[in-house]
């Protein structure tokens, strides 16, 4: 692909298809940050577990967005990997121990509240970061 002929590693995960990916990650970074801020500021005691997880997810999305946009492959790989583990673990736990999930997080029920995009996104992200590193 033409965008990878520059020879510069910097920014190489944030161009071409990566630009679309960074935009989608940015949307999730903003929405998870906004959601967890509202949840923690207005009703933190009601559902501490999901709200703490929302805040954690927000941090992961912010880091992933920044790392992908600036071409920091190792950091992007770590953040997207944590994201994949997060959505799978939280997905399973929220289905089994639903009584501890009084309110939804981004990753509850494998991200069903967001059209399962949170489940698909880390897979696409891993593919993109690993593919470009070869």
């Amino acid at each position: 692909m033409s965008e990878r002929t520059s020879g510069s590693a910097f920014g190489s995960t944030g161009v071409g298809f990566g630009r679309v990916l960074v935009f989608v990650y940015g949307i999730f970074a903003l929405s998870a940050t906004g959601r967890s801020t509202v949840q923690l500021a207005t009703k933190a005691p009601e559902a501490p577990v999901p709200y703490a997880l929302s805040a954690f997810a927000a941090v992961v999305y912010v880091v992933a967005t920044w790392a992908l946009a600036t071409g920091r492959r190792a950091l992007a790989l770590a953040a997207v990997g944590i994201e994949l583990v997060g959505v799978l673990v939280v997905g399973v736990v929220s289905v089994i121990w639903s009584e501890h999930f009084e309110d939804a997080t981004v990753w509850s029920d494998f991200g069903s509240g967001y059209g399962y995009v949170p489940l698909v996104l880390p897979v696409v992200g891993l593919w993109w970061v690993l593919r470009g590193s070869r």
Partner: protein, 119 residues
């Protein structure tokens, strides 16, 4: 959903179809696309004004922070997409615009759900 939201959702859908065709044919967006997006953005600004008027009137049971947050998100998403797409004059840039217009109707659904708590 409100009439404005339904109308803007139809506009988003039309824009999405056109952007999809542009991506498939590997053609950059032109005047028609940007005119459509400008019209959409004008509608989203109008929605912000209407929504703010609603929320500062009678809003019992409605989470004001969430509602205003989604109103603002709906207003900034298209300009953000256009700005982010600007530096990528390939079909990927067009795909960024496509993602932007597809997100708007989902924000409308959230706005509708939040307002449904109104008593």
């Amino acid at each position: 959903m409100t009439t404005l939201q339904i109308g803007l959702s139809v506009l988003c859908l039309l824009a999405a179809v056109q952007l999809g065709v542009l991506i498939a044919r590997d053609v950059r967006p032109g005047r028609i696309t940007y005119a459509g997006l400008a019209l959409l953005e004008a509608g989203l600004v109008a929605q912000l004004v209407v929504g703010l008027a609603m929320v500062f009137d009678d809003h019992r049971g409605v989470s004001v922070a969430s509602y205003v947050g989604y109103l603002l998100a709906a207003m900034v998403i298209v300009p953000l997409a256009a700005g982010w797409a600007w530096a990528e004059r390939t079909r990927s840039g067009t795909a960024v615009l496509l993602v932007g217009v597809l997100v708007v109707p989902f924000l409308f659904v959230r706005l509708h759900d939040i307002w449904a708590a109104h008593v």
